[in-house]
Amino acid sequence: MRKQLYNVGAILKGLSITFKFMFAKRPTIEYPSIKKQHAPRFHGLHELRRYADGKERCIGCELCSSACPANAITVIGAENSPENRKSPGERHAARYEIDELRCIFCGMCEEACPTDAIVLTPRFEMSDYRRGALIYSKDRLLVPPEAGVGTAPDERPNGIPADLGRVAEVKSTVDVDEGYNATNRGQVLKVQRKGLAILKRDD
């Protein structure tokens, strides 16, 4: 008899728990209309940056290509001619292609790049029905001149690009600077950024 009563109590307890959960706050973010805010250095679609004068940062050195563990990057470099300088250095990338289907978004290309040309943006919506459409070449990777120069990942504010839509109103948990200090890679990048600032002055 006591066991039966215990069972009834267990059922009632279960019912009370489910009833309470009916009014609990739901963690669902209704994705296509509202997007989750993520860390500033989220690894998404790549972007080729420019210098402030509009020249491409990429010097066609192929270090990203050789650093890529998935063999997703193809770079074919070419010499700059004096009358048509595409980048400040001697060479530029005549072709630059990333197969986003192969890419594992590890960010090794970003680390390998000596001029901070290739960066991973927080854009993540690139699905397509055609395989071919996921091979991104320079026409889509390079920041268009009218859109500025592109932002280095460590200078990027928290959140996702404005043109991707409404962001969920969740409290941002990542403080940008704290985020960098927290990881070894962040520290390294910070130092590199200092180095790049000097490089920029040299231009």
Binding site: I11, G14, L15, I17, T18, F19, F21, M22, F23, A24, R26, P27, T28, E30
Partner: protein
């Protein structure tokens, strides 16, 4: 107007109401289940997902209607209609409000409960024949379970009715509700009420008694082979049966359209109270589904025969003795 035209109009309205209620109780169930599992539930089709039933119906109608090669074609096609027909025909006698001139019911049968029991017990044929005629093993197992389960729990259910009948002294649903003007039968017949609630869940094959379509063991039970609109008919029958047993629970135990707690002077139409009570039971169904796991088959049988049936019998005997010595 001749009587038959009035009855025809009433039937058409009732059919519309019951089908709409089915559609939105299905949506409500998905919503409630979602909330209890910390999900938002369907909310993509129309505002708050209110057009979801229409989308579901369109999907089911457009699906292919398959008949397995091993199936018995006639009975296989007939079975969903048996389920649906019996589910709907109960509404011929259910009164939705105080019917001095029979306004709130299609027919006022003086043996209402007997008619009700007779019709609902035909409902099991739809499931049994559907599973048997599918000509494959899982549906057969599901329909065998359905038969055993429904026969076992029908007994406890009938016995819990008889307690109410003794107290009310009539088998007409109108009379039973009128007899509850002072005390709802849930108070003197509390054990009967509990037995009825449990057996009602089992009769409609709902969680935690949904062994008939236990996904983990039987794929989808008796309707494994059904697709498209025929599956939809079984689905409608299940929800309409839920609605039926909720209506009966409100009529027999919660005073039907009588206002609760002496709220008579609010002058709310009786049918509103009735809808609130039925809605409470429908919510209770969904609540149970979100909470309880499925019974094991042997325990289901043991529970029905060794616990509910003796309990209902005891309740009946005690009620009969008290009524015999003290009058109504």
């Amino acid at each position: 107007m001749p009587d038959w035209i009035i009855i025809l109009i009433k039937s058409a309205i009732l059919l519309l109401v019951v089908v709409t209620t089915f559609a939105y109780s299905m949506l409500a169930e998905r919503k409630v289940l979602g909330w209890m599992q910390l999900r938002p539930g369907p909310n993509r089709v129309g505002p708050w997902g209110l057009m979801q039933p229409a989308a579901d119906a369109a999907k089911l109608i457009l699906k292919e209607d398959l008949t397995p090669r091993t199936a018995d074609p006639l009975i296989y096609r007939l079975a969903p209609f048996i389920s649906l027909l019996t589910a709907f025909s109960v509404y011929a006698i259910i009164p939705f409000g105080a019917s001095s001139a029979g306004t709130w019911a299609i027919g006022n049968v003086n043996a209402g409960i007997l008619f009700l029991l007779a019709i609902t017990s035909i409902g099991v044929y739809g499931i049994t024949l559907g599973g048997w005629a599918s000509g494959s093993k899982y549906p057969l197992l599901g329909s065998v379970r359905a038969t055993a389960q429904m026969i076992s729990y029908e007994l406890g259910m009938s016995l819990s009715f008889i307690g109410v009948l003794i107290l009310a002294g009539t088998t007409s649903l109108d009379g039973i509700v009128n007899a509850q003007a002072k005390w709802w039968f849930v108070v003197p017949q509390f054990i009967g009420f509990i037995v009825y609630i449990i057996t009602a869940v089992a009769e409609t094959n709902r969680v935690p008694f949904d062994l008939v379509e236990a996904e983990t063991e039987l794929v989808a039970g008796f309707h494994t082979e059904y697709s498209g609109l025929r599956f939809g008919l079984f689905f409608i029958a299940e929800y309409v049966n839920m609605l039926t047993v909720s209506c009966i629970a409100s009529l027999l135990f919660l005073g039907g359209w009588n206002a609760p707690f002496g709220l008579d002077n609010l002058h709310v139409p009786g049918v509103i109270w009735f809808i609130i009570k039925v809605g409470f039971f429908m919510f209770f169904y969904m609540w149970l589904r979100a909470t309880l796991p499925r019974f094991r088959y042997d325990r289901l049988m043991a529970f029905g025969w060794k616990f509910l049936l003796p309990l209902a019998t005891l309740n009946l005997v005690v009620t009969a003795i008290i009524v015999a010595y003290m009058g109504h």
